[in-house]
Symmetry: C2
Subunit: 221 residues, 2 copies
């Protein structure tokens, strides 16, 4: 069986978990306190981060490289569109969320509020938290603009772009940092993705010391 | 003809330029001072960064999404291997350089020393420069370890992984921040890639106020 070394609120791990679950690939989840740089873990992944997916004795790292690998080895259901243009748009949006959204929002809210405490790295930087809370509004508006023209973020089909976005937003929703009143369109999209069986494991996550709000698991939030 | 909006020393732009040149796709290069957030440019690319590739009226962004697009539309010569494992390893290493190497090295040396001055954002942070100069040693050693087992970084074939690595190292070499004496193996690899016709445009780059050292263009450095 596949084994995924992960941390529960990591959006990069969540994207891989969603892809695995949607493709009905059985996986054993192992929590990895990667910041302690355990020697065994560092040998498996010199980059020293999660997710790491163990497949047939090999250890795969870098979340998008893992997702592309899963797409090639388990093509059904497809999480990349059939057209070149669709695949480009999906990959562009995965980078948008994993790079731009991560740097402007996730790293400023989730990392300041949760990771710093868990990793014993001090207190949240209030200027960073404020900047993240401001930046998420622009991103929700950009998503609403895309979703006004399309059923899913990259087009008419659910793709890895939706999983990348939902991975970041669900981690932020765990700490009540998403204002769902900002856009009905984005809320409807999230309700659709939240109700998928692949999302169940994400909604069951619990981080000690950080109980999720009641609406986190509620499909009618 | 394709048009690429770029800045000369950006490793992300250089990776795309190398892929275009290796595939013999004619392109017009347009320098884009993206940090000035010109309204026309922002409309073409809401992420507000380079590279942006104009293809048949569409504007493509995110360097790896662009490279995957070029690979699908211009498959020869192939810059991704034919096997799933080879493609995984190539994509993993592109992420390694564009994420880990960028954050630990390029952003700390090139951005501190050059971009801050060009963008009028103050003076280099000496602690960052020191950290970058230390981190590049680890990365050169990791490359040497890979290249002791393989002809190219991801295997026996030149791939986008080599272009990603060469893009970062060539930008740093422009400001004399690569110690080529550290590894004969890495130096030999760079000499091979530097002598390719695709590299000529990179070696001809000039940034006003930052003349490159003599060895930058020298194939026998």
């Amino acid at each position: 069986m596949y084994r995924l070394f992960h941390v529960p609120l990591s959006p990069f791990c969540r994207k891989v978990r969603l892809a695995l679950a949607e493709k009905r690939i059985e996986v054993e989840l192992v929590e990895e306190r990667y910041w302690e740089r355990d020697a065994d873990f560092m040998r498996r992944n010199p980059a020293g981060k999660v997710p790491v997916l163990r497949v047939d004795g090999a250890h795969l790292s870098e979340s998008m490289a893992i997702c592309e690998f899963l797409e090639e080895t388990h093509p059904e259901p497809a999480l990349l569109p059939a057209t070149t243009e669709g695949r480009y748009e999906t990959r562009r949006l995965v980078s948008w969320f994993d790079d731009k959204f991560f740097n402007e929002v996730t790293s400023k809210l989730l990392y300041e509020r949760v990771n710093k405490k868990v990793m014993k790295q001090g207190y949240p930087d209030s200027a960073a938290v404020k900047a993240g809370a401001k930046a998420i509004k622009f991103h929700l508006d950009y998503m609403a603009w895309l979703l006004d023209q399309r059923r899913w973020l990259a087009g008419d089909q659910m793709t890895l772009a939706d999983f990348a976005a939902a991975a970041h937003l669900s981690s932020l929703d765990y700490i009540s940092d998403v204002d769902w009143r900002r856009s009905e369109t984005v809320k409807d999209w999230y309700a659709k993705i939240k109700s998928r069986p692949a999302f169940r494991s994400i909604l069951a996550d619990q981080v000690p010391g950080f109980p999720p709000p009641a609406h986190y698991t509620d499909l009618d939030f």
